[in-house]
Amino acid sequence: MMDVNEIRRQFPVLDQKVYGKPLVYLDNAATTQKPLCVIERERDYYLHENCNIHRGVHYLSQMATEAYENARRTVARFVNAKEAHEIVFTRGTTESLNLLATSLERMLSASPSGDASSVEKAHQKEAARAQRGRNPLKVLITAMEHHSNLVPWQQMVKLYGGELLVAPMDDNGVLDLQAYEDLLKQGPQIVAMAHVSNTLATINPIKEMIKLAHQYGAITVVDGAQSMAHLPIDVQDLDCDFFVFSGHKMYAPMGIGGLYGKTEWLEQMPPYQFGGEMVDTVSFEKTTFNKLPFKFEAGTPNVGAALGLETAIQFLEHLDRPAVEAHENLLVKTAMEKLSTIEGMRFIGQAPERSGLVSFIIDGIHPYDLGTIIDKMGVAVRTGHHCAEPVMTRFGIPGTVRASFAVYNTLEEVDTLVKAVERAANMLR
């Protein structure tokens, strides 16, 4: 069982009025609010522990280093990674995907068989590749990707020659698995897929998709930005090669996120950024790189936010997660039932397997107008293309109104949303 009111008390930001009305925060897919324990953890770090990590001999530095590495172990445990060094801290999903696009392209174009076994070897191949040119890269994505899981791959194939393949979906926002498998036959080296669509709420059958991709010899990348806060993640069970996520969408601070990668791949991949911490030895002629995961963490990391992320994970782990999932599903189901009585209501994304949000438009009303009016009634939703323009094009609409839920939302808030949408629609028609 979970007590929503008890949970709400841990989120002071929710207890405020906007335009004189109680705030109803339904933009959780953009970012979740942070519980007090997370805010206090980060504050505490700057009050008592702040230090640069991994290099100081002094007490504080050692303590901060240990805390940071503990946070890594916590993330590894949360997603059930085999080793803590398989977790690389990044600024979030977007940075993780840029890291992957850059580093995997360099690894694959240097070594089509992917048999380099050390950083040194990868670099010899990198040099060889520079002389003979690159092997073209083929990447398969789905039609429902966020721009962050589309543009990095697209730019990479544009820059070096290659092809971006897109697996289509049906009118309900369900991926066409047959078409997906047909595209796998074209031999993409990388398959990148959203776990949960940020616009359509679709939960993709990623375990099956990963298995299929592996049968065709592709490396699999899962964009978990929208799933980490809502669904249990087990990277070993999924057998994905990479899984990326953002902290701020799972009750953690902004500016921290992560990348899980199987050891065998992370070891072969060349570094993404260069600088401090990620090096082993440096001379003017040559640099050797640090071991995992430090090879991918150039520069001073966001230690305070990493500790906040650890606390956010502990916050999630203390909740009855199946009950939370049921609660969030009830909010979505109730919202859809009640919204559907509004004239001209059209839901964008009606997959049977769905998570945490509802996207809709009303005939003859621009989503932007609707969002503007309900904002004045205290209801915070997102309107627009949600950084997934091709999805809007697919459905022939300029954008949607998206209400996205988190653990602290209530059925009363769903009612407020529905009433606000009703009133706005009457004004705008």
Binding site: I373, K376, M427
Partner: protein, 139 residues
């Protein structure tokens, strides 16, 4: 009416309402009354950049005065551009270019618009000024 007189009457209309919901209702009504752009001008060339919704604006010079028509797929946006059209349509290019725009601050419109919409408002005014500038040089 002069630009100043029209602006004053708009400021008065807006001050009648305390609640921003009512002011939005007024903007929506204005949107519905917008002088609609002719279909032949509803193209890329007449789109105003910087708006989250699409806005088309056209102007022509008749007897030394500028007449605007517009459209948008969002009705509040259409209301905002019609507000500007009410102020500037039927005025000479010189009067438009020398107009004082502080009425936009007086009605509190800028601060109550989202930043993207506020940028859109600035782009609309700019585009109207560009038309006036172009007509000034030919008239």
């Amino acid at each position: 009416m002069t630009i100043k007189e029209i602006q004053d009457s708009i400021v008065e209309d807006f001050s009648m309402f305390d609640d921003w919901m009512d002011r939005y209702a007024m903007l929506i009504e204005m949107g519905k009354e917008c002088p609609i752009i002719d279909d032949q001008y509803r193209d890329e060339k007449h789109l105003i950049n910087g708006c989250q919704s699409r806005v088309w604006l056209h102007a022509e010079l008749k007897d030394g005065k500028v007449y605007f028509t517009a459209d948008s797929d969002a009705v509040i946006t259409k209301g905002i551009i019609n507000l500007l059209i009410k102020v500037f349509s039927g005025q000479t290019p010189e009067d438009i270019l020398s107009a004082d725009l502080s009425f936009l601050d007086e009605i509190g419109l800028k601060e109550h618009l989202s930043p993207t919409r506020s940028n859109g408002l600035v782009s609309m005014v700019k585009q109207m000024m560009l038309y006036a500038e172009a007509f000034k040089s030919i008239s």
